[in-house]
Each structure stands twice: as structure tokens, then as C-alpha cells.
Assembly symmetry: C2
Homo-oligomer: 385 residues x 2
């Protein structure tokens, strides 16, 4: 029996790597449903290669157009489409590779319909970690991390009792601007921000790596995924990104996962867990060649978004949602050339500091706060322009 | 219920570290029996601190002397004493920290009486890996490694399926003479050989580290302990000894155990497995401080004992026994000032190359070959003098 996969966000960086894993193992995996946003050329190729049953698309016009071309496939637009992909009949596991808060409701729907989740959309846990983990526990659904850091921690946690874990140690490459002082950041360009030293990733996450917002989101994700208090999550600067992350145990031992920077490894691990299999065309990390690994303290004054992420994580409630929503709007504005690099941080800080927490939060309120934050940050940007 | 420990070789380096673990956790562990060779002062202190029931000593004279001092304790001499300690009534686990081939028979006796083994005596597996592992399987006895490298591999193997392991990667510091060319080795002194760059250990193992015989014995030990073919065991030079060893999985991921160079960690791990506990007075390896790790190819021409160990491991039968026995005699002679450093290698090579394998080997024959090899190497040394 093949493992049936639903893929949310098939045309992004993680989506493409996932398709490569499926392509290399047609005897193991079957793609039953996927969603995409705007890359229709690639979407058609995926349809013709993998013959899914359901495809989620961005609008009604696209539904009509594609239905004419592929009459046997069910096309559904917008959130309804994402949810249909996430709950596709027969799917064993849903890989959530959409970017941003749009991943939340489809992920929750997938959990409620009993699908295991391969989670590449960290915003889901950042916004609604409590609800997601509770729903997963209730349905005995596995949440399998795809982020390389969380996958590393997940891998070395196998066979260990979580109560014996003293700390999670998440490595950070430092991103594209790690060698620049704050003063030099004032006039950096989008082009230079998009040059990640170690990983080839999507635009937003590459910018998020340079501001350390990505590491901050990872801290909050790790908190929920592994049930680890924030005091026990440490960040260490590791320029090579070879050690993907570590755990420290009560007896002083550290366990680490390391290797080449190939996202197909954690993707395949999530899809095959608890088994592993040969990774075809792997970027081989050959230990027989000389190599060095460097670890250093991360300067929190240089990267103020990291302590801010810890602070919003500790405040909990809807603070992480505000932090994330402000970042998404700001980074998209920076990518669109509307604001300067350091204004990303300014907008996030303003959103977080102005936020007034509501009592008795529900998931609906969280989604409302996410929307309102986006609107407010957009307004602030317009006022300034 | 306290865990009852028998300790073979209490006054050596591993023995003392083991006693420190027991001393720090009197509510967890109880020492029921131990053996020692010649350090009677320390043995008396151990008796008075831990109140064991049985003590193995080196000769009959010592039995009489100590029986007068401690009439409630049973003292037994020589091999009989080691076996009595290894099979002590009530003992749950036997930690074998004696040096050399003398560990073999007591370890086998312990297994046959159903005790788990915390194995610090690698010669046991080098000489009789097949018999030992078979006996352990038959009695469902655990063989828990204490060597830091094997403990590291054992730790990261938890929760992994051994069939998904592509390679074991054992790290080697390179020992005291790692920066000397072979030419410079001709006139090195015992004093300089005993200065290990990273670990504080007994004399013999420190010399063995410098000749790489120790790493060779570890390769053979790993072969038996983890059922891993020699082609899948790699050695990598790692000057800091921070990464204690690694495994490489089929999907390209490496899992590593790392930390400070404190033998109490692997000792305590073996004694508490599958649990872990806080290591009191640990040498803290603090990841918040900057550190670098270096890995390099190990030069087999510089360290010819390593390929020789792989060769005797592959030949199997009694070849590893001959390799080990010749090394023990030669290293003791070097420590006693009777031979030069490079003569250790010469004697091992001569013993291995002259060895003629017997058919249908039994454990008795192995022990016989061990004795004969020692005798022959002693003769060669005498002839030369």
C-alpha cells in the first residue's frame, strides 16, 4: 500500500523538494491532492505527472479554466480549496508547506479528520500552538516537523525520555547579514538580503533568517512541538548550518543531528517516520573530507527580534500572532520595495508594544487579531508614505 | 530498590570514576562486590565506604591479610575471585573495568548468571565477540558500552532501526603524538606518550591511543557490539574529542553524541539505561561559549596499526586475539622501559604476520592462543636484549 500524501503549497521551495522526494519514490508515495497559489505552469506539470484527485487553487476563475483542461480532477478555490486538500479522502499525511498564517485552518481541519501532519508551516504553531497540539493529542495525530532544526531535535529525541531533556539547542546561521553591524543595516538592499549563506529557500524565510525573526518563530514552534518551556530553549550561532540542532540531556550529553543542507532529508524523514529510507540524489555530506564547525554566542543586541520573540512567546495568548502578522506584512512590503530593511523591525515592535491582550481567547479571536494586526501595519505604512 | 553493582577493577581510572558515580547517588546504587589488583590502600577505603559483600584480590596472602581486618567480607583470590565478583548474588549489573584479556572469563560468567554488563573492557569483545554476543542473546542480557565512543553510538542508536544505519563514524583524537611524523617517533619517551591531549586515562590506554591500537580495538569492539560489518565502520580524526562518535543513516542524516570529556557520563549512562539522571559535579560543556570542532581524514600511513586492526578484524577467528595479546605485552614492556616506542608496532606486526590460524576454534583455544602469543612476544623481546 502506497502512502497517500496531500501537499499544501506545492509550488514553493518546500513543495518542490517534497515533489522531488515523491518523484524519486513512486513505489512508496502517491500524491492525492495539492494546492498552489499562482504558479500555474508548474501546477499543470504537477497535475500531469502525479494525477491528483483534488487541487486547491487561488480563485474561481482558475477553477473554471483548469476544470476545462482536466475534467476528471476536482478544483476548489481559496480557503475551501485548502481545507479540501487538507482533508482529502484517503490521504494519510498532509504536508503543510504554505507560507504564513493561511496554513492554520487547513492544518486544524486535517488534524480533525485524523490525518498526520508533516509541518513546514511554522506560523500554525506560532499562532495557535495550544489548540493545534490539543487537537492532535485528542485525535492521536502525529505532528512531524519538517523545519530542519525541529526535525533534528525530533530525530535525536527518539528513544529519549523528554523529561531527561535539559535544553533544546537550536542552531542559527545568522542569515545574510550576520557580518554586518546594526549601523550597516540601514541601507541594505533586497538583493543582498536574499543571499542566504547556507540554504536555498523561499524569499520570505530568507529575509526572516536575516532579521532572526525566523529563529524566533522556530523558538515558539519548538515550545509547542516539544512542550518545552522557553527557559530551556537556547539559540547558538553556528555559521555552517551543518549541525541542524541539538538536545542537551540531564547527564550532560548532547545529541545532535547533522549533515548537508538538503531539505529533502527532513521532508522525507517526516513522510517515512518512524522508518527511514535511502535519499536518492542526496547532497552527500562526506565525513572523510576535512571540515570545521564553529559555534558562538548569538548577540541579542545585534538581533533584537530574537529576545522579542522569546518575550512574545512567554506572554503567549495572541502576542505571537501579532508578532508573526506584523512580520509577514512588513517583509512582504520590504520584498515589494515599499519599506527599508530596518523598518521591518520597527513595524513588528510597534505592533507588539501597542497590542492589548484580550481575555478568554478563542481561535476565532486569534484569527481576528491576525487580520486586525495586518490591517494596522498596512495603515502605518500608508501613513508614512 | 537500589540497583546492585559489581565492579571488576575498582582501583583503575574507570573504576574510580564508577565509584564517584555510586558515591554521588547512594539512594540509587549499591556496590555489592568489587575486585582490585594491587592498590590495597584505595581498596581499604572502598571497603570502608561501600561495605561490599565480596572482594576479589590478586593472591592468597592478600585474602588472609584482609580477612583478618574485615571478617564479615568474603575475599577470594585470582580468577576465582574475579568470577565470584562477576556472579555475586543479587548483583544486577557488572561493570567490567579490568584492563586486558583477564576480563574475558569473568564477563562470560556474569552473562551466564544473567547479569547485565556495563562493558569497559574492550578486550573481551576483541577476543571473543562471537561467543560473548551469542551468550548475551541467549540469556537476554544487555551489553551496555562504557567506552565513550561506543556509548555515543549506543545513545544515538536508541529509537533508530539498525538496518537504517549506513555507517558508524568513530572519532579519534590522534593521541599524544598526533603532530609527530613517523620519523620523530623513533626516540619518543614514555613520559611524552602518557600526555593525552584530551582525556585523563590509565597508562596502557593512553599509549594505545597514541599508536591508534586503541582505535583499532574499538573498531573490532564496535563490529561485535552493533553487528556492523567492517566496511561500515569509519574513523575520523577529531582533535577536540568533543563529538564522541556518530552514526550515518541511509537518508544522509548523521546523529552524534557530544559533550565534555568526562567518563562519568558514559559510565552513569550504562548504569542507568534506559533512564538517565542528573550527573553530579559534571564537567559542564557549555554551548553558550564559543567553540570550534575540527574533523580530518586519518592518515593510515602515519598510523599503520589502524589498517592492521581492520585487517585482523576482517580475518576474524583468533587474529584479533593475537593482535591484542602482542599489544598488551609490548605496551607493558614499553611502560617498563624495556623497549622503544616503535618496537610496539614491530612486535604486533610480527605476531600477526607469523600467526597460523587453527580450524574449529573454541573459546578454550582462543585463551590458549592468547597465552602463547604473550609467551612468544616475551621471547622475542628477550632474544633481542
Amino acid at each position: 500500500m502506497k502512502k497517500k500524501i496531500s501537499l499544501l503549497g506545492a509550488t514553493g521551495s518546500i513543495g518542490k523538494s517534497t515533489l522531488d522526494v515523491l518523484r524519486n519514490n513512486p513505489e512508496i508515495f502517491e500524491l492525492v491532492a495539492f494546492s498552489f497559489y499562482s504558479n500555474i505552469k508548474l501546477a499543470k506539470e504537477i497535475i500531469e505527472e502525479f494525477h491528483p484527485l483534488i487541487v486547491g487553487v487561488c480563485n474561481q476563475q482558475m477553477v473554471q479554466m483548469l476544470s476545462l483542461l482536466y475534467p476528471k480532477i476536482k478544483f476548489i478555490a481559496k480557503l475551501e480549496g485548502l481545507v479540501a486538500v487538507a482533508t482529502a479522502k484517503g490521504a494519510d499525511i498532509v504536508l503543510t508547506a504554505v507560507a504564513g498564517s493561511v496554513g492554520l485552518l487547513p492544518t486544524l481541519a486535517a488534524i480533525k479528520s485524523g490525518k498526520d501532519i508533516a509541518l513546514a508551516n511554522k506560523e500554525t504553531l506560532v499562532m495557535a500552538g495550544e489548540w493545534i497540539m490539543q487537537a492532535a493529542r485528542k485525535r492521536c495525530v502525529k505532528i512531524l516537523p519538517v523545519d530542519s532544526e525541529h526535525s533534528a531535535i525530533f530525530q535525536v529525541l527518539q528513544g529519549q525520555d523528554i523529561k531527561n531533556v535539559k535544553e533544546l539547542v537550536i542552531t542559527a546561521s545568522g542569515g545574510s547579514f550576520r557580518d554586518l553591524t546594526r549601523d550597516k543595516l540601514k541601507h541594505v538592499t533586497l538583493e543582498s538580503a536574499l543571499k542566504h549563506p547556507n540554504w536555498s529557500m523561499g524569499k520570505k524565510i530568507t529575509i526572516d533568517s536575516s532579521t532572526m525573526v525566523n529563529k524566533g518563530l522556530e523558538v515558539i514552534e519548538a515550545h509547542w512541538l516539544f512542550g518545552m518551556p522557553y527557559d530551556k530553549i537556547k539559540i547558538v550561532l553556528h555559521r555552517e548550518s551543518t549541525v541542524h540542532s541539538m538536545i542537551r540531556l540531564v547527564d550532560g550529553a548532547y545529541l545532535a543531528q547533522l549533515g548537508s543542507n538538503d531539505m529533502r532529508e527532513p521532508i522525507q524523514h517526516a513522510l517515512t517516520f518512524p522508518n527511514r529510507m535511502f535519499l536518492k540524489n542526496e547532497k552527500i555530506f562526506d565525513i572523510a573530507n576535512a571540515f570545521s564547525l564553529h559555534f558562538d554566542k548569538l548577540d541579542e543586541e545585534r538581533f533584537p527580534m530574537l529576545p522579542l520573540a522569546f518575550a512574545v512567546g512567554r506572554k503567549a495568548g495572541s502576542f505571537p500572532t501579532v508578532f508573526n502578522a506584523a512580520n509577514e506584512v512588513a517583509v512582504n512590503a520590504f520584498i515589494a520595495g515599499k519599506i527599508k530593511y530596518l523598518e521591518i523591525e520597527e513595524l513588528i515592535k510597534r505592533a507588539v508594544f501597542k497590542h492589548q491582550e484580550k481575555e478568554n481567547l478563542t481561535l476565532k479571536m486569534i484569527i481576528e487579531i491576525d487580520k486586525k494586526t495586518r490591517k494596522k501595519v498596512c495603515e502605518w505604512m500608508r501613513e508614512k508614505l
